[in-house]
């Protein structure tokens, strides 16, 4: 029933050591949800090669990153709830 193995929720800016750790651990079949400062990865980093990438809409807008390019889906809080249930497990970085 699960759409994803692990949902990784990343709320740290790309320069935070935990961001690098999260991206390094991402596996095929995982999903990455960028929240808070995590959305800055959309402007300052390469999106991971594996896994599906989501970004939380209010944080994307607050940081002036509306209409991001690349393979990312902008989602609302309701989708965050669904994603957390679709994944087999959730890790908040």
């Amino acid at each position: 029933m699960s759409s994803f193995d692990t949902l990784h929720i990343l709320n740290k800016s790309p320069e935070h050591p935990r961001a690098a750790q999260c991206l390094a651990l991402l596996s095929k079949g995982d999903a990455l949800l960028l929240t808070e400062n995590g959305v800055l990865l959309l402007s300052a980093g390469r999106l991971p090669a594996v896994g599906k990438v989501f970004a939380l809409s209010p944080d994307v807008s607050a940081r002036g990153l509306g209409n991001p390019v690349g393979d990312v889906t902008v989602v609302e809080f309701g989708d965050m709830v669904s994603l957390s249930l679709q994944a087999q497990r959730v890790i908040s970085w």
């Binding site: 709320n11 995590g38 809080f77 709830v81 908040s92």
Partner: protein, 137 residues
């Protein structure tokens, strides 16, 4: 929204006015309720216990996050628990702890309560999902 109703335990470890964690957690909690799910409990840990302060007084044009959370908890009858060890170290106490340690005041905001990590363990066991809201950076 969803076909089945699930339960969540939310753990908040980031303080208001220092991190965005309490805001993001509230956004998630409201969306979960809107989708027909329920919140089993909120557990405040580490610096997150500051969310239960009755004395936070931001400028009038800024959101009062402890009050926003307290209103939400009351409205939906959700227990909000601050970890006792984290709370005592950081100066967050209720009447009971005030008396026990002979402190000059109590500052816990209603309806938040103070209890041990067992509440977190229990929440993890009974909820479909446990989510953590840490300080960003």
């Amino acid at each position: 929204m969803s076909d089945t109703s699930e339960t969540f335990t939310l753990v908040i470890t980031g303080a208001p006015y220092s991190s965005q964690a309490p805001q993001t957690a509230l956004g998630f909690a409201k969306a979960a309720i809107d989708a027909g799910h329920s919140i089993d409990r909120i557990f405040l840990y580490g610096d997150g216990v500051h969310l239960a302060s009755a004395l936070c007084t931001p400028p009038s044009d800024e959101t009062r996050w402890p009050q926003e959370w307290a209103d939400f908890l009351e409205q939906h009858s959700i227990p909000g628990i601050a970890c006792i060890a984290s709370a005592l170290r950081r100066g967050l106490v209720n009447d009971t702890e005030q008396k026990r340690y002979q402190l000059p005041a109590a500052n816990l905001l209603h309806p938040f309560e103070i209890a041990g990590l067992g509440e977190w363990v229990e929440g993890r066991m009974t909820s479909t999902r446990t989510l953590y809201f840490h300080a960003g950076g």
